[in-house]
Amino acid sequence: MKFLAILKDSLREAIDCKVLYVMVGLSCLVTLVVLSLSFKPLPAENNMRDLVSGKTAALVAMMSGEPPADFSDEEKPNRRFWEASPFELKSVRVAKGLPDAPESHYTLTISMRANQAEVARIRKEPDKVLEQLRRQFAFLEKLNLLKLARLDLLSAGDPDTSIVIEVQTEPTEAMRRVWQFQPSLFFGAVPLGGEDSFPPLGVLLFMISRIVLYIGAWVTILTSIIITAFFIPNMLRKGTVDLMIVKPMQRSLILLYKYLGGLTFIFLNTTLAIVGIWLALGLRSGMWANSFLLMIFVITFFFAILYAVSTLFAVLTRSAIVAILMTCGAWFLFFIVGTINQVFETQRYVEKVRQVPPEKRWGDNAFGSVIKGIRTVTPRTSDLDHLGKQILLSDFLTGTTAKASILDKSSSITWGESLTVSGVFVVLTLGLACWWFATKDF
C-alpha cells in the first residue's frame, strides 16, 4: 500500500507538470500515423525475380548483420552482389491458388547464364547446378520462408547456349513475410518508395518498427529522464524530506519505492505506446510480431539502468539538473562503449571468417581490448538494443523469435550476460544511493 501511495504520488507529480499529457499525446499520434499505413502486394513476378537472383536472401542476411555471400565479380566491381548471380527468372506461372498471392504455389522458369562449354558440362552433370540454385534458396528455406518442392533441368530452348531450370515452389506460413508490398501512408494517399521493388514485408515492417521504436524510445527515454529527475530532488527538499522520513518506514524503502514509482510510470507510458503501435501495425499488415511487445520490457529495463544513475546523483546532490546531466553522460558513455565494442566484435568475426592471420588482425588490438574491458563492467544498453533488434527482425521475418540466433552470427552478445551485468549495475548503484540516503542527516 505504501508503494502504491508513492507510485500514485509520482504519477500525480508527473501529471502536474503536464509533460505526461504531451507524452501520451505523442504516443497516440504515432499510433494513428501507423494505423494509416497501407500495404499493397506486388505481382508474383517481381517477388520471384528477387528470390531467384538472391536479392531477397541477401537483404535478409544483411539485415541480420551477416556479411554478404561473396559474389564478387572482378570485372564489374561496382555491381551489387546479387546482380552477380548466374540465375535469372524467365517466367512465373501459378500452379495452385490465386495469382500474385503469397499463399499460392508457383512454377518458375529460370535460366542460367553460361557459355557453350559450361552448358555442355552442366548438361552432363546437372546435379551440381541444381544444387547451386538450391543453395541460393537455402538461407530462406532454413528460416522456413520458402519451400522448393521440385527442381528440374529442362531440355527446352537452345541446348547449346542456355540452361533452363524449372522450379516448383510451395508456400509456407511465413511466405507472406518475404513477399514485397508497397507501403503508403494515410490509407494509400501518400505512397512510399518506388513502384516495382520493395523489401520483403517482414523487413519492411522491421524497418518501420525500428524507426518508430528508435525515435520513439529515444524521445520517451530522454523525456522520462527529465521528468523523473525531479522526483527525488523534490522529495529531498528541506521541509519535504522531513515529512517523508519521519513516517514509520525504512529510508531505503522510501527511496526504492520512489525509484520503482518512476519506473512504473515509464513502464505504463511505454506500454501504452508500444501496444498502440503493435495493434496498429498488426491490423494494417496482418502480421502480428508478438516480440514487439517485448520491447516494453527492453525499453523499461533500459530506462531502469539510466534511472538508477539519476537516482544516485539526485541523492548525492539533491539537484535535478546534475541528475539529468550525469544520466545523459552515462547514457552517452554506455552507447559509445557498446558501439565501439560492436565494431570490434564484427571485425573480429569477419577476420575469423576470412581467416586473416593473427598478426594482421586489428580486431584484437589494445584499444579494442580496453573497450572490451570497460564494456565488461558497464551496463549493456547497446547490447539490449542489439538483442531487441535481432528478436524483432527474427519475429517479423519468420514469425518466431527462436530464429534470432540463426540471424545473428556476428555477435557474441547474449541476453543472460547483458541482463546480468546491467542488473548488477542497477543493484549496486541503487544500493549506494540507498546507503547514502539512509545515513545522511537531513
Binding site: M1, K2, L4, A5, I6, K8, D9, R12, E13, I15, D16, C17, N234, R237, K238, G239, T240, V241, D242, L243, M244, I245, V246, K247, P248, M249, Q250, T439, K440, D441, F442
Partner: protein, 324 residues
Amino acid sequence: MAVLETRKLSKNYRRIQALREVSLRVDRGEIYGLLGQNGAGKTTLVKILLGIARNWQGEAELLGQPAGKPNARKKVGYLPEDHRFPDYHTGASLLDFYGSLLGMSRAERQRRAGEMLELVGLTERGNYKIRTYSKGMKQRIGIAQSLLHDPEVIFLDEPTDGVDPVGRREIRAIMQRLKEQGKTIFLNSHLLGEVEKICDRVGILQKGVMIREGDITTLTSQKGTFLVGLAQGQVFPEEDARKHGYEFSPRGEFWEIKLEDGQSIDPLVDLLRGRGLSIRHLVEKRQTLEELFMETVEPAEPGVDGRRLRPSRSDEHIRPQLGS
C-alpha cells in the same frame, strides 16, 4: 511516565556543535515548549528524536524506544518549521498520501482526513491545490497532517508561524484539546506569549546547551518582589516603610517592594492597615516569559556577530524623533 527523554545528548555538524549534553524529559500529557534563538539547536533536538538527524552521542528515547526507530515514529505527529508540502497535491490528497505512508486503511484515511480538515477549518478548501493556499492555510494543513493518525506525541515546530491572531487562538485551542485528551505536545516556538499561554514546562537552549528548564510558574515568578497599590488619593508612607527596612520604588500607580532574604511582606501590610490605608492591590510580581528569555540568553543568535547593527541613514533620520 516519560514519553521522551534525552540524556547528555550531543550532536555535531562537522565543526559546529549543535547540541551539548542536553538532558530533558517530557511526561505524558505535558505541553513542553523548547525555546531558544535561531540556531540554538531546537530543531536539531527534534530531528534527533524523530530519526531525521543521525550520528549523535548520548541517549535519546521516544515512547520507550531508542530515537529514530520506525516503530516509535508510528505514534508521532510532526510539523516541521520550514515545511514544503508537494504543491501538486490538494489538501485532501496530501492527507490521503501521508495516511497511506502511515499505514492507515483507506476508510480510516477518508474519515480522519475529513475530521482533520474540519478541525483546522479547511473543509471548503480541501480539494484545492496546496499551491493556492496562503501561508496560514499551509500551516493549518500542516497541523492537520501531524494529527491525522491520532498520534500520542506531537512535535510542532513554529505551528503558528504565518497564522493570523484568530488562527493562533484556534491553534491554541486545538493544543489545549489535545492536552485534555492526554496527548503530549513538544512545541518549538519563538512566540513566547503563545508558549507562556499554553505550555506546562519550558526549556531554554542556547548554543546547544540547556540553560534553563522548569515549569512556567516557577521560572517566571520573582520571589521577594511585590506590587502594592492603595486606594485612590491615599499616599504611600515612604518614611515609615524605610524605617522598617523595606526597599521600594514607584511603578506607575503602584509601589514595587523588594524584600531582602528572610524579610516578610506582612509587617508592611500591618503598617499600611495600621495607618488606615486601603490596600487595593497586592501581588507577588512575575516576569513574562519574554522578559525571562531576554534576561537569560545572550543578545546575538549563534553565527551572527554580537555587535549592534550599524545604524542606517533612515535610522539616523528617525532616532531624533524617537528620542523626542
